[in-house]
């Protein structure tokens, strides 16, 4: 009975909200004056395709992670990513985009005047490029906001309460992601004006997620039996599938970040592919030298490490630079992952080692390798501008402090109220059954 009442209430509120929703958008969504429009069909096609590609990355991440957990947690893990996609898609439209890209309050945060995409329409905007509809730019940015919190989930895999996770996502994307995106990408953001280079989100997305992951792994504590019972990846096919779709989608992430379709997009496309391949080779060869066998999981992980590292730098370096950035990323992240069991926390799927460190290396590498031959907008250490490295460190530092601090506060708040972690017996049963009453396979 009670539940039926809850559902009716839900339905009622929804209906009530309808009228509000529909009228609250006074913006002109339609092209008022198409004749003078500067919208370019090729640029728009490229940006929309890129947004679709980045969308695909979030479920892909679900499979990448889902294959690495134990069978009993496969759905819970895939759901982490899928749920981030659902939640942030809505909150971004409601307030996230306005906070991140709306009119800036002292370079710190956007105001809420674009709430519900009020004023974000089919015409072009001062953001991104004048040749693409504002809505296209918004949706491209949305996909970044979606995937970033999903990345963190690898750190607390196999043990977080689903209700806690739901609250976490909403708070984190509002109070951590939106401000940092504002600082770095909004033309009035303080890091943007400082001159920090971040082509497609090395700091905003990866370093940010990596630091939040570190905090989360520490606050939530280790999985029951960690390092005592075997916790083997249950389906590496899923992981390779995820990594492959990530690679595919990442062309949208990086080459799409050129916003326009042309030479810069082509450059970012090539450096992305090259660094990714080089990082997969770097990781697998390091394994080969170190353990005697290159693994498939290693190659897939290395590819992701390369994708992460090249993200901030894709549009600033040469293809040869990309080989260096990628190969080093592969070796660094492999080393980090190997050290993990020696550290005191259980970053279950190596978000810190891959996204944190990879993102950090990518940000610094941008300061080193950025070549004016590739893109006049950036000049790094190797081209005589040592100062760029310092700016890059500053951007990383700011991200580190804000993300670390606010993530900590959010998690502690949730823990004190509804609790972060499933019970011991739920953890033993697995997230699939305990959180969702489903099993992943009835083969």
């Amino acid at each position: 009975m009670k539940r039926i009442r809850t559902v009716s209430k839900l339905l009622f509120s929804l209906s009530a909200a309808m009228a509000f929703f529909s009228f609250s958008a006074p913006a002109v969504y339609a092209d008022a004056a198409p004749a003078t429009s500067k919208i370019n069909s090729g640029d728009t096609a490229w940006l929309l395709v890129s947004a679709a590609l980045v969308l695909l990355m979030t479920p892909a991440l679900g499979f990448f992670y889902g294959g690495m957990v134990r069978r009993k947690n496969v759905l819970g893990t895939i759901m982490h990513s899928f749920w981030a996609l659902c939640l942030v898609s809505v909150t971004w439209v409601l307030w996230g985009y306005s906070l991140a890209f709306g009119p800036s309050i002292h370079g710190i945060i956007g105001n809420l005047s674009w709430f519900g995409l009020n004023g974000v329409g089919q015409e072009s905007s001062p953001l991104g490029s004048p040749t693409v509809p504002h809505l296209a730019f918004m949706s491209f940015q949305m996909m970044f906001a979606v995937i970033t919190p999903a990345l963190i989930t690898g750190a607390f895999a196999e043990r977080m309460k689903f209700s806690a996770y739901t609250v976490f996502i909403i708070l984190w994307s509002t109070f951590v992601y939106a401000p940092i995106a504002h600082w770095v990408w909004n033309p009035h953001g303080w890091l943007y004006t400082l001159g920090a280079l971040d082509f497609a989100g090395g700091t905003v997305v990866h370093l940010n997620a990596g630091i939040a992951a570190l905090v989360a792994a520490i606050v939530l504590g280790k999985r029951k039996g960690y390092l005592e019972v075997p916790m083997l990846p249950h389906n590496i096919g899923y992981t390779v599938l995820g990594a492959s779709l990530l690679w595919f989608g990442w062309f949208g992430f990086n080459a799409g970040s050129a916003i326009t379709s042309g030479g810069l997009a082509a450059l970012a496309f090539v450096t992305t592919n090259t660094a990714t391949a080089a990082a997969a080779l770097g990781w697998a060869f390091a394994e080969w030298a170190h353990k005697g066998r290159p693994t498939v999981l290693g190659a897939a992980s290395g590819a992701v490490a390369g994708l992460v590292a090249v993200t901030p730098t894709a549009g600033f370096i040469t293809p040869m630079g990309a080989i260096a950035v990628g190969a080093i990323a592969g070796v660094i992240c492999y080393t980090a992952v190997n050290l993990r069991p020696k550290l005191g926390y259980d970053d279950s799927l190596d978000v810190v080692g891959v996204h944190g460190l990879g993102g950090f290396w990518g940000a610094i590498a941008t300061g080193i390798f950025a070549s004016p031959l590739a893109n006049p907008a950036g000049r790094g250490l190797l081209y005589g501008n040592a100062h760029q490295v310092i700016i890059q460190f500053e951007a990383c530092g700011a991200t580190l402090v804000w993300s670390g601090l606010v993530t900590y506060i959010i998690l502690k708040l949730i823990d004190a109220t509804i609790g972060l972690r499933v019970s011991e017996s739920e953890e033993e049963l697995g997230l699939d059954l305990s959180q969702h009453e489903e099993s992943g396979y009835n083969l």
Binding site: L433, E437, E438
Partner: protein, 112 residues
């Protein structure tokens, strides 16, 4: 000779294996099983339809052992497999009339 068949929880497999190695048992055959007993099952819900699942995943171990070692083996398993919660499982003991090692053709106790 006896065959010891133990139905245990997944989570105790490692401990049981170690306990067996500690008493020099170096032969075990394992199968994935599902058990139904006092332990409560769980519900699965798919598109609104609820299913009662009463069979829970278990591990079945089979260990052939000479008669004189039987009690040692039973004790080792029972101690290692025990969590004290319902569903810890059972041990069944059978008589084996013969054992053959395929590789060598040895028979009886030698073959265990």
């Amino acid at each position: 000779m006896k065959m010891v068949q133990a139905v245990i929880k997944h989570t105790r497999l490692d401990a049981v294996q170690k306990a067996l190695m500690a008493i020099d048992v170096h032969g075990v055959t394992l199968t994935e099983a599902k058990g139904f007993g006092r332990q409560k099952g769980h519900t699965e819900v798919y598109r609104g339809v609820e299913y009662e699942v009463r069979f829970l995943p278990k591990i079945k171990l089979e260990i052939a052992t000479p008669d004189e070692k039987l009690e040692e083996v039973l004790a080792a398993i029972q101690t290692a497999a025990r969590t004290g919660e319902i569903g810890d499982g059972k041990i069944f003991v059978y008589e084996i009339s013969d054992v053959i090692r395929i590789r060598t053709g040895e028979r009886g106790k030698e073959a265990i």
